[in-house]
Assembly symmetry: C5
Amino acid sequence: MKVYNTKDWAQFVFLISKSDTLFKLAPLIFFMLLYSLGVAYVEIHYFKVSDESWVKNLPQMHGLLSFVISMLLVFRTNTAYDRWWEGRKLWGQLVNNSRNLAIKMAGILDPTDEENRRFFRRSIPIYAFSLKDHLQSKKTEYSLQDDHLIEENYLAASVVSDKHVPNQIAKLLFGKINALYKTGQITGDQLIVLNGEITALTDICGGCERIKNTPIPYSYSSFIKKFIMLYTLSLPIGYAYMLGYFAAPIVAFVFYVLASLELIAEEIEEPFGMDENDLPMEKMSENIQRQVEEILI
Amino acid sequence: MKVYNTKDWAQFVFLISKSDTLFKLAPLIFFMLLYSLGVAYVEIHYFKVSDESWVKNLPQMHGLLSFVISMLLVFRTNTAYDRWWEGRKLWGQLVNNSRNLAIKMAGILDPTDEENRRFFRRSIPIYAFSLKDHLQSKKTEYSLQDDHLIEENYLAASVVSDKHVPNQIAKLLFGKINALYKTGQITGDQLIVLNGEITALTDICGGCERIKNTPIPYSYSSFIKKFIMLYTLSLPIGYAYMLGYFAAPIVAFVFYVLASLELIAEEIEEPFGMDENDLPMEKMSENIQRQVEEILI
Amino acid sequence: MKVYNTKDWAQFVFLISKSDTLFKLAPLIFFMLLYSLGVAYVEIHYFKVSDESWVKNLPQMHGLLSFVISMLLVFRTNTAYDRWWEGRKLWGQLVNNSRNLAIKMAGILDPTDEENRRFFRRSIPIYAFSLKDHLQSKKTEYSLQDDHLIEENYLAASVVSDKHVPNQIAKLLFGKINALYKTGQITGDQLIVLNGEITALTDICGGCERIKNTPIPYSYSSFIKKFIMLYTLSLPIGYAYMLGYFAAPIVAFVFYVLASLELIAEEIEEPFGMDENDLPMEKMSENIQRQVEEILI
Amino acid sequence: MKVYNTKDWAQFVFLISKSDTLFKLAPLIFFMLLYSLGVAYVEIHYFKVSDESWVKNLPQMHGLLSFVISMLLVFRTNTAYDRWWEGRKLWGQLVNNSRNLAIKMAGILDPTDEENRRFFRRSIPIYAFSLKDHLQSKKTEYSLQDDHLIEENYLAASVVSDKHVPNQIAKLLFGKINALYKTGQITGDQLIVLNGEITALTDICGGCERIKNTPIPYSYSSFIKKFIMLYTLSLPIGYAYMLGYFAAPIVAFVFYVLASLELIAEEIEEPFGMDENDLPMEKMSENIQRQVEEILI
Amino acid sequence: MKVYNTKDWAQFVFLISKSDTLFKLAPLIFFMLLYSLGVAYVEIHYFKVSDESWVKNLPQMHGLLSFVISMLLVFRTNTAYDRWWEGRKLWGQLVNNSRNLAIKMAGILDPTDEENRRFFRRSIPIYAFSLKDHLQSKKTEYSLQDDHLIEENYLAASVVSDKHVPNQIAKLLFGKINALYKTGQITGDQLIVLNGEITALTDICGGCERIKNTPIPYSYSSFIKKFIMLYTLSLPIGYAYMLGYFAAPIVAFVFYVLASLELIAEEIEEPFGMDENDLPMEKMSENIQRQVEEILI
């Protein structure tokens, strides 16, 4: 995710970064410019349309449909942003849960029980890292041991990376807590108190998977793109009568605005990739690690 | 549900698939085209309306009402999408719940208790499959046994497909957990910890039934369709004066845009069918099965 | 609630049912038609306004305010629909809760304890029926006994219909569960597991009462109606110059659209009556009864 | 809160009650009328502007900004209504919680334990009354005893009205429940079952305080009012050329519409006062009292 | 946060305070005025464009895009306000939680246990103060002791300000409650009853961090600013033909309106700073302190 100062206007207005829609749409905008010039040329030199021509009233239709198109784009923008913000919320919950689980285990576990403290100090942040890799479809092996030399096999046996990794770590975590309960190191009341945090992990994972795997319905995605193209391609036909060659930059600008909104929405709606607008999951996982280690000394 | 690459514009713009609204609306659009040509012909050749004619100001009204119609369509689009997304969320919760229940039972059940492990490994995914069939009104018999030869009657007795199948599986699941609690294999604290997952199953089922059985109020559905038809049918009367025969493609295009939005909304608002935009419940159920089997070895 | 096929357009467009706004607004639309004709007649024959008249620019104002009026109507539509959908959700929760309570009691109660099973089999659906009657202000006596001959007085004593009936049934339900807990037939852990379902009943009842008793603020209701009337009544004054007698059907159509939206919103916002768009509470209560009886054999 | 029949149109359209925005805005509307007449007089008689004057195109700008202003007003309307509806929901929850607490205590307390029954029968409704007075900044003393003669001092000692009264009553309630738990009259499981209701009281109180103490940000409130004034004050300058003295009623009407929306939003956004649109907290508290007394006999 | 009377219109309309967008945008508005005058001068004196010029139809485009720009600004306004309101809700929850925790501890702790009462009386408000400082990136040391002379080292050891301070205080709180549970001063049932309040603290902290650290996606922020600048910079080109030098104040006014909305959104979306619209966290923390001290005497 790009870090930026929201209040520095110059940066936004004059800088055209690589992630800018102006940069990405440049070829299409250039095509629109040429196309409009062509339409204007044909209309002015071949048809020589007079003021009485019926075609000159075409912009009437574009006015009529301008509400529909802008409302559709706002619908698109809203849903894309909602998905992005929901993804952000889910990762925020992951941070909160990890910390709460660490705070609770720090209080519940015996201060001298270094082994179990190390287990949770390692495994809680690993859930975040594994979820990140799972959402970005990377396969990694995670070690729950500080000392890699000992018990290496223990992990290999329990977290196999060709299965659903976050599930397995959640299982390991609940299994450990249940085992501590069975051996009396955690009382029944404490088990109930820990329940919310354990359950939340898988809920968060499922929420992220839902956002990642379900784009907005194909029908909308297809219809909006078709509508934008038909709308802007028919725009110069009427505008060339009113504006002459000036129609070209205007059509290009209208196209830039409409297509930008669709383009940004496409980038935003799946926040787990590695685009500039995507969530900084790596950094958030490191934050979880640092804070859990601070708490579970 | 159609899987697609959101960033491939060409596919959306030039391809007219069978599920496209352009394809479905073709006859009506063609009718609109003919109707507008007819209106234009009559106005131009019979009435020979001059520029002074009052009728030429009719588009004024269409401009006035264009806000109302686009806002209504956005209202329609929003509610349809919300229902679709809520349906998706409910199935996401089903995935999460199934996994959490499996993770918890994997920890709680004795590692050697193969019988009970097999029961949950089978019955949790069966809930998803039965919910899918219930929403699609299919009647199926589900076997909770790996070995079909033994105890076939046990199932036949407990899950009868002419009753509400998901309810019966939920009852079987809670009954089993309660029985394990009574025999001491699950402690009281563990019962409380499992409560959320068991309760959620029926809540999810009810949520899906609500979306399936309650379309938006008849009044809105009826009014929007009436409004679109009256709006587009009166459009060529005024436009023929301004645009001549050009009015025909324009009216057809306006009709295509307005009717498409209504058509897509109709498809989206009931996400449990077998249309292209509907939820991939079969695949999700298989996912649940695979993951539960991974967890509850 | 009217059951209908969302995909049958002909039905919506050509059929004018009794619940249609066109039917209900007919007298007012007819009045608007006459009024506009009168205004046009006066302007054309008495004032003989020329093209230079200032009044002909009046539609300018209607254009300016058309955004405000359509946005207000969408606000009205959204809030009315939200209330209707919330009412539907509350009844959906009632279905879910009733089933969950039945599923849990079926597991918890001893299979031979026919008396208590009968109590819950009867009293859970009765809550739904009594809530329906309470929302529709009917007063009914409910019997919790299969055998009406025995213990008739028991009910008469405990559920008196001049008090708040749903409250009393909720009290009876919790009282019974608490009594079972005190006599050891329900353990403490099971009591906690049942808590959510019992509490939800009164929450659902309160949610429905809130929707029923609180219409949108008087100020909005009054302002929107005033605005629509002033807007449409001033419409023909300017339109008669532009459109002559054609102004009449146009004004009538604009009025039909604006008033319909207000009218539908009024019908929808209170979903517990017996209008065509209202919730099928009778059917839902019967569903609860059938399913609870299926579960709690 | 004004009780009204939503379906009686005549009442809304022709009646101008004291709470009507038309009544409240009358002086400002009258000023706008005079101001516009003045502007029109100056333009027509002094400047004698011809059709070529540039100023006559000013309405172009008002058209351009009409979307912005109507969208801002809808944003204002939506947030105000959301706050009002949230306030209503919080009081609805208070009703539900009070009833649920009463239902649970009725079941839990020994039928012969008249003293504790009386305590809850009195103190639950008093929480509602005290919250109402707290939100309306009244200071009152509440008695938790039926018999005022005895133990008057007990209350005086525990509920001092110069402290935060609802907090003290919540403390008294939890203290009593905790005491009953310590003496064994409430078991631990019942304590857990009662937890939700006790916690909710303070959450509801805090929610109401939040709505009461936090108006929408000063920047928006200030900007919207500035925008409306600048917009309507500049309106007659351009309109006088187009509409002559007719501009005056039109400007006044536009001002009436825009200012009404802002005015209603102001009234609605703080629902705990004693305006006509505010919540009937007195009546709701009495309802709570009556129902709690019905339940906790 | 600025405290103000929402109903005093004069204050809003005529007063231009330092926080006003008019004040902040003054230099840019002045630049726009000069720029538009320049464009008008060039067009009128050099190009001497006639009425036939194509350029005069440019405003057509601005009309077309005015919907898009106003909808984008409303999207911006809505998301900014939602963030501000969510921040306010989180702090409202903090107030509620602190009070509920105090009310519960007041009931649970032995009335004579002055030491533990003092601990909670001090540490609960300190969480609020530390969260405020954490969000404003101040580093402070907090003392949990009334008597600073004794046990000063105890705090220094446990709350180190270069770590995440709220986490440490939450850990201290849970640690103390868990210790009381282990020594039997809090029963298991009471521990469960306290769980919600303890968990909520870290959830609130995480929610605030999320709002603070995640501005709306860079793409939107950049696109909206670019769009506003291109839109207003091209506005005088077409307007100078229609309005002459009058175009200058009009363009300046349009720019003022559009840029104000963006500017206010920027201020509102991060509610934890020290601007005039930001939340009064200092005051709220003091409120928490006063109320907790009132409750936990």
